[in-house]
């Protein structure tokens, strides 16, 4: 099987160009092609989503994730090609197109300056063109760095500000997108799956803002090139490295410190970034006066990337990430908790311009997630070894045979090994090794029927050997542009998911992935989307998007199973279903001294599992009917920037106990006090709202480089939002305690860019 897959990949890479170059018509002979890379002038970083348009025509293209664009079937002759991307100065280049030939044109765009006199400050928060696609948003690294955040800038916490994306609590960076749980979102870093993208037990994500170049969020309706999840995709790319000069960053904050360096070398560039928590001084200071301070409590991660230009048509990039969290915590006398978990990912990508209208990418990926908890209590030891190893090869082709069609096709094959071993009191209590080979292939075509009507259709086929499950996933999107300012869009897709995650919203340190198998079919769901996008003037952008999605055959680890030994694999799960629907609105001001956005989501989601809640649907905790996010950015002067973020959301759900009884349990000294609950999660906590303020001062660090001093106040009016209620069953009558989230929290970060 593997030899066949390799053969198929080689065929796609080597043979398609010859197939594409047959049968030119007379009209095609009179046209030519322009292609090349679009990058930032200051750094050489590729720009994803830049527009290249032949002035005065409807011919154009958008650069892909590698920064590559191609415009074919351009009539021979003199033309002006216009390159644009939000946050960069438009560039107009005169070109001469020769019939039957391909003109290679690599372009570098300059960032637009902060022209305070004209008060023309362009917001880089969202790329205007790319956001025009249904359900997709590009998040700029500027938003990530400048948005007030708890203790340090974080990629996922910035993503949580988008309409349709919710946070579980102040302590969690988990993404709850359009009613889905975090495991329904595929997280990719340089084309490699990341299985536990969290640090500090879920408080932060593993993505270092200094190392990131692009963050693209598909909230739903993602195209056929992505698969393996029924909800959404977060596609992240590391920086390639500054191709112009050596530069770097050093940042010191309350929780962690970061450093990065990037620069060019002969025919290439490199980037390296490292980040480590800096809690040791605080822990040392507390150890003298407070009991049970962890002996060790830190996280560290490193990102790196090397890019090399083999030829004008071939580029190689090698990317890696390594990170871990380590805790060594004597919680009480004779009670020791140790936890070590993290991820290692790597990818080797070969990008090749096969012909004027054909671009290929081949990527070899490896991803390892490890999680090794150890508990020693009362002389009894519980240990676990939990690893996920995922090795794969991907090949993608992008072919633009005409202005009407952009065809993408690809194949992704790999092997997945999940290892889990539990040892209790020296005995191995379980040791299942789950291995699965998988392969997925897709093809999709973006068909520009007329300048107003665009149809994108595709299909993805997936197969996992664990359980021998084969599934087809059709996708379709239709767009109508009655005017240049208005886009009406609708989409449908079928999605399958072959993995499920055992996790806890409050603590992600023990995350465990499980696979489909015999008797455990993949979960699946359909998504229906419709939306309107309107740009009446350049400064303003309006969006209205509705969605409905169902979830079938949700398989999750049955929380009521106390011990898995001796049970068949399929007996470990409970199977349920769910649905979610909602409407999202976004109003954004892109330019001006005052810019930002306000997003509102109205939505609801439900789940149902047998023997739970009388087999009836119930809302999970993260069901929040209303969710409003306001992000405002104001340039006080050339040196001062102020940012405010306000969030309001309906209170999360919780289960209200209605009655109680008492049972003299023969296995216990004291009686049990079981609760009688009614409908699960039918009550709501008080509404959540919080205001974060941030001020950034731009200056110079002794003339060696630029500096940024960020002063932030999280929860400026110290709203003590409720996280959950904790009921004390042993009190009589029972009592309820309120567990609250963060109080007002100041934060300071100093960053030097050299």
């Amino acid at each position: 099987m593997k030899r066949s897959l390799i053969a198929i990949i080689l065929f796609l890479v080597l043979r398609i160009p010859s197939l594409a170059n047959t049968g030119y018509t007379d009209s095609e002979i009179q046209t030519g092609t322009i292609n090349g890379y679009v990058s930032e002038a200051a750094t050489g970083e590729a720009i994803w989503g830049a527009n290249a348009v032949i002035a005065g025509t409807t011919l154009g293209a958008s650069s892909n994730s590698s920064g590559f664009y191609t415009i074919s079937r351009i009539p021979a002759g003199e033309h002006i090609i216009v390159f644009s991307f939000l946050g960069f100065r438009e560039q107009r280049i005169e070109v001469t197109v020769t019939a039957g030939e391909t003109l290679r044109l690599d372009v570098e765009l300059d960032e637009s300056g902060l022209e305070m006199d004209d008060v023309l400050v362009t917001s880089e928060y969202y790329d205007l063109e790319e956001r025009q696609s249904l359900g997709v948003t590009t998040v700029s690294t500027r938003l990530i760095r400048e948005t007030p955040a708890v203790l340090q800038a974080d990629v996922f916490r910035s993503i949580q500000l988008l309409p349709g994306i919710k946070a579980a609590s102040d302590f969690s960076s988990g993404l709850y997108i359009r009613g889905g749980s975090p495991d329904q979102t595929l997280i990719l870093l340089d084309n490699t799956t990341v299985y536990n993208p969290t640090h500090f037990f879920g408080f932060f994500s593993t993505f270092n803002p200094d190392a990131i170049r692009d963050v693209r969020v598909f909230k739903g309706g993602f195209p056929a090139e992505y698969g393996g999840r029924i909800g959404s995709v977060v596609d992240i790319y590391n920086k390639d490295g500054n191709r112009r000069r050596t530069s770097g960053t050093a940042s010191v904050g309350l929780l962690s410190s970061r450093a990065s360096i990037e620069g060019p070398f002969n025919r290439g560039s490199y980037m390296f970034a490292i980040r480590r928590s800096t809690l040791e001084p605080l822990l040392w200071a507390l150890r003298g006066s407070v009991d049970n301070i962890p002996e060790s409590f830190y996280f560290v991660d490193a990102n790196g990337k090397i890019n090399y230009e083999l030829s004008s048509k071939d580029r190689l990039s090698l990317s890696f990430y390594a990170g871990q969290d380590d805790v060594n915590f004597p919680a009480a006398d004779d009670l020791l908790l140790k936890l070590n978990y993290g991820n290692i990912t790597g990818s080797l990508t070969w990008r090749r311009i096969l012909s004027g209208d054909l671009f290929s990418t081949v990527t070899f990926t490896g991803s390892r997630y490890f999680n090794d908890p150890r508990f020693e209590f009362g002389g009894t030891v519980f240990e676990r070894t939990n690893t996920v190893n995922d090795f794969s090869v991907k090949s993608d082709l992008e072919w633009t045979p005409s202005q009407q069609h952009t065809v993408k096709a690809g194949i992704w094959a790999g092997t997945l090994l999940l290892t889990l071993q539990d040892r209790f009191d020296g005995l191995v209590t379980q040791s299942p090794d789950i291995t699965s080979e998988y392969v997925a292939a897709y093809v999709q075509d973006r068909w520009r029927i007329t300048p107003q009507w665009i149809f994108t259709g595709g299909v993805r086929a997936s197969y996992y050997t664990s359980g021998r499950h084969f599934r087809l996933e059709p996708r379709a999107q239709l767009e109508y542009r009655p005017t240049d300012e208005i886009r009406l869009q609708t989409a449908y897709g079928r999605y399958y998911q072959f993995k499920t995650l055992i996790t806890n919203e409050a603590f992600s340190g023990f995350d465990l992935w499980l696979l489909t198998d015999d008797g455990v079919p993949p979960a699946w769901g359909d998504q229906f989307l419709a939306g309107i996008k309107w740009n009446p003037v350049r400064e303003w952008n309006f969006e209205l998007e509705g969605f409905y999605r169902n979830m079938r055959q949700l398989f999750e680890f049955d929380p009521r199973i106390p011990d898995t030994a001796g049970l068949d694999y399929s007996e470990l799960f409970r199977f349920g279903e769910g649905f979610a629907y909602g409407v999202e609105t976004l109003i954004q001001r892109n330019t001006g001294r005052l810019n930002g956005f306000i997003g509102y989501t109205w939505g609801t989601t439900r789940r149902k599992f047998p023997t739970f809640n009388n087999d009836d649907f119930y809302p999970p905790k993260y069901d929040r009917i209303h969710d409003i996010n306001l992000v405002i950015n104001y340039s006080l002067s050339s040196r001062w920037m102020a940012t405010a973020v306000f969030n309001y959301a309906t209170g999360q759900t919780y289960t209200e106990p209605l009655g109680r009884t008492q049972v003299d349990n023969p296995f216990e000294t004291q009686p049990d006090n079981p609760l009688i609950v009614g409908r699960v999660n039918a009550s709501r906590l008080p509404a959540y709202h919080r205001l974060d303020l941030g001020f950034t001062y731009y200056s110079s660090f002794f003339g060696l480089g630029d500096s940024e001093l960020q002063l932030q106040v999280i929860n400026a009016y110290s709203r003590r939002n409720v996280w959950f209620y904790q009921f004390d069953f042993d009190d009589n009558p029972a009592s309820r305690q309120v567990v609250r989230m963060l109080p007002i929290l100041p934060s300071i970060t100093y960053t030097v860019n050299f």
Binding site: I502, T661, F724
Partner: protein
């Protein structure tokens, strides 16, 4: 274009109005307290028939006492049947001096392993049962041997009894290990449990410690079709003499213990604030009508730090 834009503005505005109007309705609302009958009875193989306690649930915010919740004047009977469902005996119960507590009329009767007991509660002897539950008493569970009766705490040797494999139809066996301190007045707590005890805490809370549910699948079956289990040190709360019990439990107890553990906040995947209901296995009410078969030994746990 101007008219299209204005049409669009109106469409978006109207959509928002409809949306807000619709959003005010949440059809999933909180229900209220409903009183339910509660049964509590535990059958132990070889022991006399247990008492059956009948009560009602009380509102969550009300102080609970059994006396306030007890249900009196009910007709209670146990029907003992074979695996095939044939009735072997009908065991009558009478209300004791304590309101809500019903005892077997024939106190000489004992619980027989390997048989099914069905509980029926009626409001009067001639009416249909208002509450029923059924249990299969695990059978064939006998202690064969042990590896000693004195062990140094956290020393190289742990208590390892060997016993026959219990019989339960249709599934592997589930066990619960339990220790009972026999002389807590003269022997201290082990360090692990002593660390949990504050000045205001009741030290008796650790007199009996249980392991939680242990699947038979954790252990290899010996060549002679027996099982040897190692008692973990975490199960020992007090030094000195301890009564060590291993019980094979029925499905009602299995469901009750595992669902109660989740409800009380044991390790789980549930979000904070989400409370699961208990798996009761009672028709017409709630509670626990469960059975177990056990083996009991007595061991001495030696304090390695004692002078």
């Amino acid at each position: 274009m101007k008219s299209l834009n204005s049409i669009l503005i109106r469409t978006v505005f109207l959509s928002m109005v409809v949306l807000f109007a619709f959003a005010a309705c949440d059809p999933y609302t909180q229900d209220g307290f409903e009183e339910q009958m509660v049964v509590e009875a535990f059958l132990t193989a070889g022991d006399p028939l247990p008492s059956v306690k009948l009560s009602k649930t009380l509102p969550f915010d009300q102080e609970y006492t059994f006396e306030a919740a007890a249900l009196s004047g009910l007709d209670v009977r146990l029907i003992r049947t074979t695996n095939s469902g044939a009735t072997e005996a009908v065991l009558e119960y009478v209300e004791s001096d304590q309101r809500g507590v019903y005892v077997a009329a024939d106190e000489s009767r004992t619980v027989t392993p390997g048989l099914v007991y069905r509980l029926e509660v009626r409001e009067d002897p001639m009416s249909s049962p208002v509450l029923t539950s059924e249990t299969f008493v695990p059978g064939d569970f006998d202690l064969i041997s042990t590896n000693g009766n004195s062990f140094i705490y956290q020393g190289p040797d742990q208590f390892e009894p060997t016993f026959t494999i219990s019989f339960y139809p249709g599934r592997q066996n589930y066990y619960v290990a339990s220790t009972l301190a026999l002389d807590p007045d003269n022997f201290p707590l082990t360090p692990f449990y002593a660390g949990f005890l504050d000045e205001d805490d009741d030290p008796d809370q650790f007199l009996r410690v249980s392991s939680g549910i242990i699947n038979e699948g954790n252990y290899e079956i010996n060549e002679d079709n027996t099982i040897t289990i190692k008692l973990p040190w975490i199960a020992i709360a007090y030094y000195g003499p301890n009564e060590v019990s291993f019980y094979a439990i029925d499905t009602n107890l299995y469901d009750y213990i595992r669902s109660l553990s989740i409800q009380l906040g044991g390790p789980s995947t549930l979000s904070p604030g989400q409370i699961e209901n208990i798996l009761w296995n009672v028709e017409g009410g709630i509670g626990i009508f469960g059975s177990r078969t056990g083996i009991i030994s007595e061991i001495e746990v030696v304090n390695p730090f004692a002078p």
